[in-house]
Structures are given as C-alpha cells and as structure tokens.
C-alpha cells in the first residue's frame, strides 16, 4: 500500500511540475490584465532550446539558461503584440501557440533531425529531509527543477502580496486607470509580468526536455500549455489554489495510469478522461466561492478612457 501511495504521489509531482511553472507564469500575466493562450507554444520553444543546448554541450545549467532567454524573448514579443499593439488577446495567443509549435518543430527537423535522449538533471536528495519516512522519498528525492516548481508557489505569493511590485501588478489588473493616475507605468508592469510568464513557460518546457523526459520530439508538450491556462482559472489567480489544481489534475492522472497498470477492467478511454472530468466537476462543486477575474483582464489600456 505504502509503495502505491509513494508511486502515485511521485508521479503526480512529476506530472504537476511543468504545469506549475506555466500556470504561475500565466497567473502573473492575467493578474496584470493580460491573457496569454500561447503558453504551449512558448513551452515548446523552451523545451527545444534547452534540449538542443544540452545535446550539444552537455551543460544542463546552460540549457536551462537558454530556455530562460528564449522564454524571455517570446514573452517580449507577446507583450509587444498584446500591450503595445493592443491586440485581441484571445486570438493573438492562438497565434503564438501555432507559431511556437511550428518553429520548434522546424528547428528540431533542421538542427537535430531525429529523436535523441540526454542525461537530464539528476535527482538531488536533500540531505536530512530525504531520509524522512514517506515524505522523504516523495518530496525530497526529486530533481532541482521539481523543487523549483514548488518553491515558485511561496515565492510568487510573496511577490504578489508583500512587495510594491506585487501591489502594482494587482492594481494594474483591477483598475489600470487608477494605477495610471498615480503614475504607475501600466505598460512597464504588463511587460514585466508577461516576460516573466514567458520565462516560466520556457522553464516549464525545459523541465520536460532536460529534467523529466530527457527527450525532445515535435509537439512534445502535447497541449499541456492549455491545461496550464485552465489551471489558472481553477486556482482563481491565487498561487496556492493553482498548486491545488495542478496537484488534483496530476494526481487523478497518476491514479488513472495506476488503474490501467493494475489491469482494473475499465476501458482506457474512460480512465484517460478522468483528470479532465474531475477538474470540471470539482470546480463546479466549488461554485460557491465568488471569485471575479481581474477586472481589466483582456482589456488593453488606453489612457483617458474609463
């Protein structure tokens, strides 16, 4: 029994890792009023660039760095289109998704050509903690990017609630006119959050290609970016709830696989359906909580227009 629990929770944690990066990134953007549906595209670019770097240099740190840079560049482009060009965010996001997916595949075809594996970040047991019973094995024998993903929750919470920047971010997403009238630079804040989102999406991709799966293949993320966006709504723009959402989704998925492995007789299609079904049902059950999206979400800012 214990082994099963350990197995499932470890699976869940691995599965949740890329979602955490991407979802927190998206949360930042949305809190400041920018919706980005292009997460999946950026994840793919991050995944590819990190993988390529590691394949060529064997340097994991460098791979991660490259993913961060690529993510930042994409964040910059997304910010430019959505904030400066005030594009309809629902659609520009789709554009970035298609673009990132296409570009990463082209680069893969011309620069690598066929599937390879690399040695990704190895498990990094945390001294003392990793010896704890149960939790030790579950939580403290993961690789560094997994730790990073979970560290991100308190960090982002702190940023949003305890720092002036966080205050500005929340204000800009709720009432840009008010923030602007107090000299807050709306554009700068939104560029910041969106670029940060890009970076985190890049890392999310890297966590797949150089830490968890250690391979790259065209469309490696297989739509994870969209789930990540969905989880932001599940988490109602609160890092902790985003974590819950990611863990819920991933745990059900882990159980789902386990059910199949155990040969329990349900058509696989139905077990595969579960994570998605459960997520909706749970959220529906939580309908009572009246959370409103950031008032200015998906609304470009124009000084002087209420």
């Amino acid at each position: 029994m214990e082994a099963i629990i350990i197995g499932i929770t470890k699976s869940a944690i691995r599965l949740a890792t890329p979602y955490l990066y991407a979802s927190i990134g998206e949360t930042l953007g949305q809190l400041s009023g920018v919706l980005n549906l292009g997460v999946d595209g950026v994840m793919l670019m991050g995944a590819f660039s990190a993988f390529y770097t590691v394949l060529k240099t064997g340097n994991l740190g460098l791979g991660l760095l490259v993913a961060i840079v690529v993510g930042a560049i994409f964040g910059l482009l997304i910010a430019f289109v959505n904030v400066t060009l005030k594009a309809e965010q629902g659609i520009s996001g789709i554009g970035f998704y298609i673009f990132g997916q296409g570009l990463s595949s082209v680069l893969f075809s011309v620069m690598i050509g066929s599937v390879h594996t690399v040695n990704g970040f190895p498990p990094l047991p945390i001294p003392w903690f990793s010896d704890l019973p149960l939790v030790g094995e579950i939580l403290f024998q993961q690789n560094i990017l997994v730790y990073g993903a979970f560290a991100l929750i308190p960090l982002s919470w702190f940023l949003l609630t305890k720092t002036p920047l966080g205050l500005n971010i929340r204000a800009v997403g709720q009432n840009p006119q008010a923030a602007d009238s107090l000299g807050v630079n709306i554009v700068r804040i939104r560029y910041f959050t969106v670029i940060a989102g890009g970076i985190l999406s890049g890392i999310a991709g890297a966590s797949l290609s150089i830490a968890l799966l250690n391979v790259f293949q065209q469309n490696l993320t297989n739509g994870m970016g969209f789930i990540a966006v969905a989880l932001v709504y599940f988490g109602a723009w609160r890092p902790l709830s985003v974590l819950n959402g990611a863990l819920l989704f991933s745990t059900v998925n882990a159980i789902q696989i386990w059910v199949q492995v155990k040969g329990i007789n349900i058509p696989p299609d139905f077990t595969l359906m579960m994570p998605y079904l459960v997520t909706i049902v749970v959220l529906t059950a939580m309908a009572k909580r009246r959370v409103r999206p950031p008032a200015a979400l998906n609304k470009p800012f124009q000084r002087g227009e209420e």
């Binding site: 002036p164 204000a171 000084r303």
Partner: protein, 519 residues
Amino acid sequence: MIKNSSKIINLIKVETVEMRGIVKQFPGVLANDHINFDVHVGEVHTLLGENGAGKSTLMKILYGIYHQDEGEIYVNGKLVNIRSPLDAIRLGIGMVHQHFMLVPTLTVAENVALGLPSSRKFLLDLDMVTERIKELVKINGLYVDPEAKVWQLSVGEQQRVEILKVLYRGASLLILDEPTAVLTPQEVEELFHVLRSMIKRGYTIIFISHKLREVLSLSNRITILRDGKVVKTLPAVEATQEKLARLMVGREVLLQVEHPAVKLGKVALALEGIWVQGDEGLHALRGIDLEVHSGEILGIAGVSGNGQSELAEVIAGLRKPTQGKVFIKGINVTNWSPSQLLDYGLSYIPEERMRDGVVQEFNIEENLILKDHIHPPYAKGIFMNFHKIGQESERLIKNFDIRTPSRYTSLKSLSGGNIQKLILARELSRKPSVLVAAQPTRGLDISATEYVHRQLIEQRIKLKTATLLISDDLDEILSLADRIAVIYEGEIMGVVKRNEVSVEELGMMMGGVHKDNIP
C-alpha cells in the same frame, strides 16, 4: 515648505499655474477652444459650466491624462510639458477625479501606497503608510480606516481616500472634479471645512461643481466655460446664483421649479416589512414599510450608504428581499423578475448610471430601446423594427434635447448630462405607473437638473406616476417631494409632509433620531 503641515509629508509647493490658449479636439467635439486659465496659491478657483463644457478635459490636460493639441502650461512661471500624471504629481499637482479612481479590491492603505517607492525598497511597508495616513487623517480631519477594503466604504469615505491619496503625494495644488456631486449636505459641509483649513495652510484648489450655492460659498474666483470657451472669469464676491446660471447657460434659468398640488390617486407602490442583505452580507434594509400613491413623489432622504441603493434595487427586482412583500398596484410582485416588473409598468433610473443605465459601446438609438426592444413598435415578432426605432429615437432625442451629432453616435462620447437625459427619455417615455429615481441629477449641470426636475413634476401631473425619489441632495428632495421618508441604517425614521417639516428636523432624523422622539 508650508508651515504646520505634517513632518512626514514634504509638500511640493505650487505658487501659480497658468494655462494659455489650451485647445483639445475630440472626434466631433472641440472640448477646449483656446482656454486661458490661471490659479494662485491660497485661492479656490472654481470652474463652472454645463455638462460637456470642457471642464474635466481642461483639468485632465493639467494632470497629464490628455495632452493638449495647442497651448502652454506654466507652473510657478516656468513652461512645463506634462506628459503623464507622474509629471503632474512631481510638479505638486493632484487630482480627485469625477469618476473615482480607486481599486475596490485593495485596502485604503494599499490604494494610497500604489505607485510610490517603498521605504523598505523591495518590501511593502503598509504599516508605515498606515501610520502616515492616520497622521494625515488627524491633521486634515478626513476620517477613514486605512485597513478597510475600498469596496466596503461609503461614497463619502471613498471621496476622502481620493483626497488622502493626493495629500500623501505632497501635492499642494488640488484639482477636485465635482467632489460634492456624490456627497450629502453634511458631508459637503465637512469637506468644505477641511478645504478651508487647507487653504489657510497654503494649499491651492481648483474646484468643479454644478451646485451654485456651494460654489459661491467656497470660491475666491470663478471661471465659466461654455462649449469649450471661457465666457468670463470673475471674483466670487461679484457673483450671484442667477448671474452665474445666466453666464453658464446663456439664458435665464429658474432655479426653483413650481410644484402644483395634485390630488393623490390610490396606493401604487407599497413595501411591507422589507428586509434585504447588502453586499457585505449584513442586512442593509431592516423592515421597511412604505406607500407611494399614484401622482405622488415620495422623497427618500438620508446620508448615503444607509440602504438607499438597496431599496431601489429591491423595487427594481435586482435584489431579492429576505423578508417582506412588495406590492405594485395592489399586486404582490415580490420576487418578480426585472422583466416582469418592467412590463408591469415600473421604470428605474439607476444610481450607477454608467454601470446599470447604459451600454457604452452601443449607439444612442440602441440605448434608447434597451428595455423595450422586445415590444412593439420596436419589435415585429423576434425582428427589430429599425424604421420605427429610428423614428422614435429621433423624436426622443428632440423632445428630451439630447445633444448628439446623430442617433448612431456611440454613447461613450456623450457628456454626463446628456447621458442622463437619454436615460430619462427612455424611462419616462415608457409611461411608467411607478418610477424609481435614484440620484437622478447627480453630476448634472443646472439646466439639465432643472430639466430633469420639470420632467419628474410633469410626469407626476400628466401620468399620475407614483415616484420614489432617492437623493442625497436635500434641496432636491425638498423642492420635488410631496412627502419625505428619512432612512437611517436601513430603517425608516419617519415619513413627513414636505411643508410640515423643518430642515433641522430632517437633519436629526437623518442622524438616527426617530420622528416620534423629536421634541
């Protein structure tokens, strides 16, 4: 530095501001047409003008929200280029906007701290901000709890937060765009008290209001705008209400509508023991009993935030009572849907005009039929009858004198007064048997106000409409209502005939003294 101002704020001193030949063009409107305007330290300079005259635009230019197409601005004699609010703030200019600029989900302290560097660099220092705010509150007597979330505050309190924001930034020139529009007489008095003491301490104030009595009592100088041009600048001592009105409107205006008595019909609207929950969850109405006869205007007086809004919403069917019944023309309409009520002859002039009254992206024609588009003549079956809609709109635009280039103009580009006229046109043209009018003249200029008042009276005579008039403006209630009900913390302190009550008595009731306990 200004003496006796708090040590925690260092004021940015403004001696003079001069705006020369300011021009601002909006699609279809010349909002400011070569305006010259100046203000000197220690004075209250009032901007007066009808809706759409260009007051807010001029001030938004001074505050860096718009940039002028032509003209220069001089601060302390130096030519300045104000590109953004930040520039204005740095120059010691602060603005309290006509439509509040607060983040409702944040606390007062957070709203104040917004956009300021933190003393603890990368950490918020809300405690310190809170301390300073308390300080400012003491010095200026603007009471408000720094830890409260803004959405929980009454309009008056929000007003103070806006002023605190400005003071906190060390501004010494305050632009107040219609600060009193949303305040009760008491609150206005308090505010003026604060402002006067600030003037003594070397602040300078640009004041915008439509209420002439206020203007005369506060201002040193008055500048009147019309159609984006300066009509005249004169010392307050040389001005009278009548004179100002004439200058603003360009014709005689009677500031008091005559109020012929009509014999009342039977009860059209009745509330029985109505209890209602407010947004904060507590009961906003606690057992309200009211009767309004057809042909009667019942005024609801009270300090804002005592349940007036909830009262209006309950009758309009937008809020469900937890207890009690509502009757219209003898029928129990409790829990009827808004649409049922509309069809049953209820009209509603909402307090939150922009939020509940109009659709900004729709054009004027569409806004005129928001409520009746499913009924003939506007609809043929499920189809809209644009021919009829066009005719009707043109008629209403003409009759209610809505100033617009065309009925296809989008509502956004109308000024406050015209928007209210549009709502009035829509609601009254429905020939309602019961009309709920919440703050119907808030933010309207005198001619528009006069217009609205006349309409309400006429309605009462012609259609025998039963009108529930909710207003923070006691003068308005006194000049329009047949009977006055005073509301305090969700309860009715008493219902009195207009000509049988003194302002003092009303004041006491508004303060929570029940009618029967008045000596």
